[in-house]
């Protein structure tokens, strides 16, 4: 009973209704624009060449039973998670070290700052040469997408912890390790979460581009009707060369949804590990 009421309240929440309304309007305008030549005898610029939503949905429905489509999504997700995970595992400790040791910071930061402005995609040729497999090249480029943001946010977060917390903790008898574990780590957590969320967004942009440029990675290249094995980036590219414009849009929307879900999941995880920020 109460669950039903709660569901009803959530479903008819004004903010949610506005969001749903906006999506509906977007799809309707898209449909009208795409079909403008058939329906009104006037081809709306740009949008009339894009497949209409209903056509996209028909193609999408067909692809739902296609193992290659799922395989593409799975591969991209795997690359995103491995690159992102490596960025977290390396970036957070590196950022903390840079924040805590002035000497380490002095040694590492200049190099870091020169490498940072290089866009991950500029690394593609070098990565293909350096790494033994295509798969590793793509994972490396994905890693770069999240790495810098995570490091920078960790450094800033740890450095901006109020020094009074250290003084209070020391006065109350905390050891150096206690200060690290109970002050620095939780004090940096909000910034790490923020850096990770931004990084997750970049990672999806980067993985798709890397897949397109490097020809879809190691497994099977462009084999299969839907470009199975290449990831969503290659899926889109393959659809383009194969002339299926609907499939291009399916690939794009799939990335949008995957990015939305992974960012949302990350945000929930972030809120869960920083419960004290939820209360404000």
């Amino acid at each position: 009973m109460r669950l039903a009421e709660e569901m009803k309240k959530r479903l008819f929440d004004p903010t949610r209704l506005r969001a749903i309304f906006a999506i509906v309007v977007f799809v309707v305008l898209w449909e009208l624009g795409s079909r403008s030549k058939d329906w009104f005898g006037y081809a709306a610029p740009w949008i009339s060449v894009i497949p209409a939503p209903d056509a996209v949905i028909v193609v999408w429905w067909g692809l739902l039973g296609d193992a290659g489509y799922w395989q593409s999504g799975y591969l991209s997700l795997l690359r995103v998670l491995s690159g992102f995970g490596a960025a977290l595992l390396i970036g957070v400790p590196l950022g903390l070290l840079m924040a805590l040791s002035r000497n380490f910071y002095g040694i590492v930061f200049p190099t870091f700052e020169v490498l940072r402005p290089i866009p991950p995609l500029a690394w593609v040729p070098a990565a293909i040469i350096f790494w033994p497999t295509q798969e590793l090249s793509i994972a490396f480029i994905t890693f770069l997408g999240a790495f810098y943001t995570i490091v920078i946010n960790t450094v800033d977060g740890a450095k901006s912890i109020d020094p009074r917390y250290f003084e209070a903790a020391r006065a109350m008898g905390s050891s150096g390790w206690d200060v690290f574990r109970r002050i620095i780590l939780p004090g940096t957590l909000p910034s790490i979460t923020l850096g990770a969320a931004v990084g997750m967004g970049i990672v999806w942009e980067v993985v798709v581009a890397a897949e397109m440029i490097s020809g879809g990675g190691s497994s099977m290249g462009g084999a299969g009707a839907s470009g199975a094995g290449g990831g969503l980036g290659f899926f889109i590219w393959n659809s383009y060369t194969g002339g299926s414009y609907e499939q291009i849009v399916v690939g794009m929307l799939s990335i949008g949804i995957a990015g939305y879900l992974s960012s949302g999941g990350l945000r929930m995880l972030g809120e869960w590990i920083t419960p004290w920020l939820r209360v404000r």
Partner: protein
């Protein structure tokens, strides 16, 4: 007012002795004398109020006692033990001297209970279980029941300050160092805080070194009020507040309180004018 003291115990520790404290800040060669030849003795269990203009060097003195900063010369003893002095310019921070900061330093990522229980767990004097039980009890004593599982961000700044004082007391300190803890509070909340602090004090009899701007606050709370000169900082006038403890807010309207206010007002005003003229930022 009742003459029978509420004091549960008589303080035997927390004797703070500052001798010839001297502090020169030297940023880029411009030697700034912050504390000059400052001597002050505070008895066990005394509430000693330090009044002076902003930037006069009071906090420098507090930081030297707490062990956050060094002294250029001079000695500070706590119960006969030298905290800092010749050959040891900077005291070690320790749980016998706990600071309650101006803007508060409760850890935002810990619940109020975890904050209060923090000290004894760190020092290893209690198991986490014991510390939490003790924290619960001491919070209840201070009227903070029901807020144990809230985060500091969820409670008002007045209540936060109370939690912080309770957290300090959990360490069983000899001296409580308060640096304008009620500065940001409105006057109504302040008056509630003052009575709450006295109540906690009557129960614990800890020595209190209390920095403030607020003369009324100083006279209401203190056994003595030390008026500091503006930079360099040293005692200009020491006033003994002969209104007996325990006090409550009715004291504020008593003739004796007014007399004491008048007596100190002039000295404080003089220093404030000097500080203003010296270009010290007020506020």
């Amino acid at each position: 007012m009742s003459a029978t003291p509420l004091h549960k115990k008589v303080a035997t520790r927390g004797h703070l002795k500052i001798q010839d404290a001297h502090k020169v800040y030297d940023p880029e060669g411009a030697a700034v004398l912050a504390v000059d030849n400052c001597s002050l003795e505070i008895q066990p269990g005394e509430i000693c109020m330090i009044v002076g203009p902003s930037g006069c060097g009071k906090t420098t003195l507090l930081n030297a006692i707490a062990g956050f900063h060094s002294l250029t010369s001079g000695t500070i003893h706590l119960d006969g033990e030298m905290l800092c002095g010749p050959g040891k310019p900077k005291a070690e921070p320790g749980a016998d001297r706990i600071v309650v900061f101006q803007n508060g330093a409760l850890f935002p990522w810990k619940t109020n209970l975890e904050n209060v229980a923090f000290g004894p767990i760190m020092q290893g004097t209690m198991s986490p279980q014991e510390a939490r039980e003790k924290a619960r009890a001491i919070m209840a004593d201070a009227g903070l029941s029901g807020m144990e599982n809230n985060y500091p961000g969820e409670i008002s700044s007045g209540v936060r300050r109370r939690v912080e004082i309770v957290r300090a007391l959990m360490n069983d300190p000899k001296v409580l160092l308060l640096d304008e803890p009620y500065r940001a509070l409105d006057s109504l909340t302040k008056s509630v805080m003052h009575e709450a602090l006295l109540e906690i004090y009557y129960r614990n009899q800890v020595t209190i070194f209390f920095i403030t701007h607020d003369l009324e606050e100083a006279i209401f709370l203190g056994h003595r009020v030390v008026i500091m000169t503006t930079r360099p900082c040293k005692p200009k006038k020491i006033l003994t507040v002969d209104i007996p403890h325990p006090r409550d807010y009715s004291v504020l309207t008593s003739p004796r309180f007014r007399e004491l206010m008048d007596e100190t007002m002039e000295a404080v005003h003089e220093e404030a004018v000097k500080a203003f003229a010296a270009g010290e930022r007020e506020g």
